[in-house]
């Protein structure tokens, strides 16, 4: 194997799982996520020399994000606007397959609740929560991916968490009042 390829496999491919997790949350369907991941990996490979001494994980996720933005812009120009991340998680893609149908139903309820709450938030809040809690980046990595100063990352994260919590309270109170 050539040198570029083996360096790429050693430095970048360990973060394939994180890139996939991120892609699943950006794209509006599992198929789109697959395409997004492949496109991002190829673009990363072509631009590998740009990484130099940087953080490979943040660098790869930045590329995933840029690819998504490009695809999204193209779709909007063609007047297709994807629905907000209302993705039905296909069980085949998940390792946490529980044999107990009751547990599985509860998991699905939790997933739907989260989807609902997140889709009520502004895009920048949704993004920062995804990067921190689902892709599990640290502040520095989030700052690199979103190109925000670290102070903004911290304050936006705090606001996004408070907003999600408020939305959640609203939902709980709505249920207890017997509202739909």
């Amino acid at each position: 194997m050539d040198d570029k390829r083996s360096r790429f496999e050693a430095q970048v491919l360990p973060h394939l799982a994180a890139a996939y997790r991120y892609a699943r949350w950006l794209a509006s369907s599992a198929n789109d996520a697959d395409d997004l991941l492949q496109e991002a990996i190829l673009r990363a490979y072509r631009g590998f020399e740009d990484l130099r001494g940087g953080n490979p994980k943040a660098w790869l996720l930045t590329i995933v994000r840029n690819c998504h933005r490009t695809a999204y812009r193209q779709m909007r120009q063609r007047n297709f606007v994807p629905l907000p991340a209302e993705q039905e998680p296909d069980s085949a893609a998940m390792i946490a397959q529980t044999p107990d149908p009751e547990v599985a139903a509860m998991d699905r309820d939790r997933q739907r609740l989260l989807q609902r709450l997140l889709s009520a938030l502004p895009e920048d809040h949704r993004e920062i929560l995804t990067l921190r809690e689902i892709v599990e980046l640290d502040y520095r990595e989030i700052a690199a991916v979103t190109r925000l100063p670290i102070g903004t990352v911290m304050s936006r994260l705090a606001r996004a968490r408070a907003a999600l919590r408020a939305q959640w309270r609203l939902e709980i109170e709505g249920e207890s009042c017997g509202m739909p």
Binding site: A17, L37, Y45, D138, M154, R161
Partner: protein, 256 residues
């Protein structure tokens, strides 16, 4: 009015504070009811998100598709630079090539380790990292899929050179998902695989002969924790946080 320390409390929660600051903010939280409440709420929000976002593995077909695309792309590179690899090699050859290359690399690294014998531990670390990465890449994470320690432990008999500690710690957040045999330090090592949230943790175990173990370290973004029980060396490796890795280590040691 919001407490001026609230962003620091959030940073404490996110494990972003250095030890000194963490201690200071920890003391502050004890005295400030507002920040105590904040810390609690942050935990609830995290549980809400992570509970609703199950860890997803890349489907095997997608992994193969990405690797094939990469293969074609690098073949184009080589064609331009006059390299020898023909383009569009069938993917089967690619996988065999990848695997034999990695095993060859492991053999070479072990040989270097013996020659050095001065115990820098580096080749062993390289081996563990290579085995771990390969297990995640090649969908050869698990040979025996089971959440039952009484299935996993007997499976190792005859397949590996040691009989490791196997236990399920689902209650503590570390779910036993299976085991596999892997090659490490010239022997058939036993690997017990745990899942913690979206992370996989490989716990290697092998017979150590007199040499000490390397110190805990971080390589390529993976944390490696080493310990030994009798003459069996253990190494837990994952991209999860240090705290979690050490919790699992303590759980495993507590069993002895």
């Amino acid at each position: 009015m919001e407490c001026p320390e609230s962003l620091h409390v959030q940073a404490l929660f996110d494990d972003e504070l250095a030890a000194i600051d963490a201690a200071r903010i920890g003391r502050h939280v004890e005295d400030c009811t507002q920040c105590r409440k904040l810390l609690e709420e942050l935990g609830e929000v995290r549980a809400l998100i992570r509970g609703g976002a199950p860890p997803e593995r890349i489907p095997a077909a997608l992994r193969v598709r990405v690797m094939q695309a990469l293969e074609q792309e690098s073949a184009v590179d080589l064609a331009f630079t006059g390299g020898g690899n023909p383009p569009n090699r069938p993917s089967k050859t690619l996988w065999i090539g990848l695997l034999s290359g990695a095993v060859g690399g492991a053999l070479a690294a072990s040989a270097v380790f013996l020659v050095l014998a001065g115990n820098t531990g580096k080749p062993l670390i390289d081996d563990v990292v290579a085995d771990h990465t390969r297990s995640l890449l090649s969908s050869h994470l698990i040979d025996v899929v089971s959440t039952d320690q009484h299935t996993v432990k007997p499976w190792f008999a005859g397949r590996t050179d040691v009989s490791p500690v196997v236990a399920d710690f689902s209650q503590q957040g570390f779910r036993l998902i299976g085991g596999r045999a892997d090659y490490l330090d010239h022997q058939r090592a036993a690997v017990v695989v745990y899942q913690h949230g979206p992370h996989f943790i490989n716990v290697f175990s092998w017979a150590i002969s007199g040499r000490g173990l390397p110190a805990n370290t971080t390589r390529n973004g993976y944390h490696l924790a080493f310990w030994k029980v009798g003459n069996v060396g253990y190494c837990a490796i994952s991209d999860t946080g240090w705290g979690e890795l050490q919790t699992l280590m303590r759980l495993l040691q507590g069993l002895e």
